[in-house]
């Protein structure tokens, strides 16, 4: 058995630091927590892997006429709308599913600060991931055009690229919100796919069968409103639709979720 030596408490109290833990420090630790497990590491790696695979697939299978940067951006963008929300969900729900929240929320006894740090960390990862993915697309477009012997077509403006990024970040934040709402990894992940796949399909079906809903759809179907971010720059009406849909499906549930997180028990 090891012998233990303890600093006398009197001395400890002298060296005691009374400064509050700054948010950047919490954020840095939360970022580290997204990478420091095997599953976390591979989830991050899957961003690069998925971007590479999508690029290669586009070079191989897209018709020569379609070998434009937009095709690459779109092909890479899709897996991002799946992986980024999973990263965001797990960053939140891990505290409950893995029960590490017992330590996290004790070391930082202000849950909104921890959540804020997690959101900053997730969004940072999302932005870096999108920059990496879009850069891989640039390389893909150069190589793809060269292989096919066609001229390089750069049909994505800077603003459009920002829109694609914004669209992906909205997916990521939806993941964060669902994580906060359910605080359970499986439930939140299933909920995300209901959100991203089932609801849009049902909304689409409803729009084709119900005349009245067709006019309403752009305002209340988040996926539909969001899809225009990936298509190109938004019109004024489309921006308004997006703002309303985001408020209904993301902001309001997030407010409820934050309330639940603040009052819920961490066991």
């Amino acid at each position: 058995m090891t012998t233990t030596t303890l600093t006398p408490v009197r001395e400890q109290q002298r060296t005691l630091v009374a400064d509050q833990i700054p948010t950047w420090r919490v954020t840095r630790v939360e970022l580290r927590k997204m990478f420091d497990t095997r599953s976390g590491f591979w989830l991050m790696a899957s961003i690069v892997i998925a971007a590479l695979l999508s690029t290669v697939a586009t070079i191989l299978f897209a018709p020569d006429a379609d070998l434009t940067y937009y095709t690459f951006a779109k092909a890479i963008g899709f897996p991002m709308t799946v992986i980024l929300p999973i990263i965001a969900v797990l960053s939140i729900t891990g505290e409950w599913s893995q029960r590490s929240g017992l330590t996290t929320f004790t070391l930082v006894p202000h849950r909104n600060r921890v959540i804020l740090a997690k959101v900053i960390a997730s969004v940072t990862v999302g932005i870096v991931a999108m920059v990496v993915a879009l850069t891989i697309g640039v390389v893909g477009n150069v190589i793809g055009s060269a292989i096919a012997g066609v001229d390089q077509v750069w049909d994505v403006s800077f603003v459009h690229a920002l829109d694609i990024m914004l669209g992906s970040l909205l997916c990521l934040l939806t993941g964060t919100m669902l994580g906060l709402l359910f605080r359970s990894s499986p439930v939140a992940l299933v909920a995300y796919f209901v959100y991203a796949l089932l609801v849009p399909t049902m909304s689409g079906l409803l729009a084709t069968s119900q005349q009245g809903y067709q006019d309403l759809q752009p305002w209340v179907d988040l996926n539909y409103a969001q899809s225009f971010l990936f298509e190109g720059t938004l019109s004024g009406a489309q921006s308004a639709h997006l703002a309303v849909a985001v408020t209904i499906w993301l902001v309001l549930p997030a407010l409820i979720a934050l309330r639940l997180v603040r009052t819920s028990e961490v066991k």
């Binding site: 233990t4 030596t5 600093t7 009197r10 840095r28 630790v29 006894p109 961490v266």
Partner: protein, 297 residues
């Protein structure tokens, strides 16, 4: 110092913690004793802000836990050693705590050594840790910030006898250096060997509290003499209730009183001591109430 005042927690109509008040003082080890489900863990979670009390307050050095600027450097907490991501290594978990608290990085290696986790062990994922190793890591997370207060829920769980001995020495040293130690257990013996002050809780209420010495003194005396019938007559004649406890006499009085009676009647005693077991009886009674075996017996 930890001060608990009228702390209560209700879930719907069910009262889990019922207006408990006690103080864990600096320089002493306070044992929080009670059967499983008595409300110990809920009380401890309320102390560190993980559970909102229905009413009452818990303060550390006079401040609410949430008002501590960097709680890890003032209060070392271990509520459940297994509540960590199984995919992280022991060293990584400790590093996260070190970074969050803003400590020097050498503290990680230092603390791992202090709790007796080897280099190889600390570089393994905790999914493969034994309960004892998790317990040591949990203690490391609690100690790394050099806190002056420790709140530990069942810290001896899963430790082997040598580990329990180590834990006892560690906590003893901590209290001797002026630290406040509050630890819970559902085992009377564990608390008896470590704690100086005991708070006993059953069904959410405090049923007994005080120093171990006070609580162990049941007010009864065990006495043996060369002439037992004469001793019994003498004690009865002095108005003391006696009964045979195996071949000794159990007397409803302090040992000092029994000694005086023996001198008065010029009886030679072979044994005279305060009966322990008052605490044990109380604890068994508490445990029996919450266990099926107790009801069947």
């Amino acid at each position: 110092m930890i001060t608990i005042e009228s702390l209560s927690k209700k879930y719907g109509g069910r009262t889990v913690v019922d207006s408990i008040s006690f103080t864990a003082r600096a320089g002493r080890v306070t044992g929080f004793l009670g059967p499983n489900g008595a409300g110990k863990s809920t009380s401890m979670r309320m102390m560190v802000g993980l559970t909102r009390p229905t009413s009452g307050t818990a303060t550390i050095h006079g401040r609410r836990f949430a008002d501590l600027p960097n709680p890890g450097r003032e209060v070392g907490v271990m509520l459940d050693a297994s509540a960590q991501h199984a995919g992280r290594t022991g060293r990584e978990i400790l590093t996260l705590a070190q970074q969050l608290m803003g400590l020097e990085s050498y503290r990680v290696t230092e603390t791992l050594a202090m709790v007796g986790l080897t280099e190889t062990e600390s570089d393994r994922r905790i999914g493969g840790y034994s309960l004892g190793m998790r317990q040591r890591l949990g203690i490391a997370v609690a100690l790394i910030g050099r806190p002056s207060v420790l709140i530990l829920d069942e810290p001896a769980n899963g430790l082997d006898p040598a580990g329990i001995r180590w834990m006892r020495d560690l906590l003893r040293g901590y209290a001797d250096d002026g630290g406040t130690v509050l630890l819970s257990s559902h085992l009377l013996h564990e608390i008896e060997v470590i704690a100086e002050d005991i708070v006993m809780i059953g069904k959410g209420r405090i049923v007994a509290q005080g120093s171990k010495a006070e609580l162990l003194r049941a007010g009864k005396t065990i006495v043996r003499g060369r002439d037992m019938p004469a001793l019994e007559r003498a004690l009865t004649a002095s108005g003391l209730a006696t009964s045979y406890d195996q071949d000794a006499l159990s007397v409803e009085a302090e040992p000092g009183v029994v000694g005086l009676v023996a001198r008065e009647y010029e009886l030679a005693l072979t044994e005279l001591r305060a009966a322990d077991g008052g605490l044990e009886d109380l604890f068994l009674q508490l445990t029996a109430d919450t266990q099926r075996e107790g009801k069947a017996a």
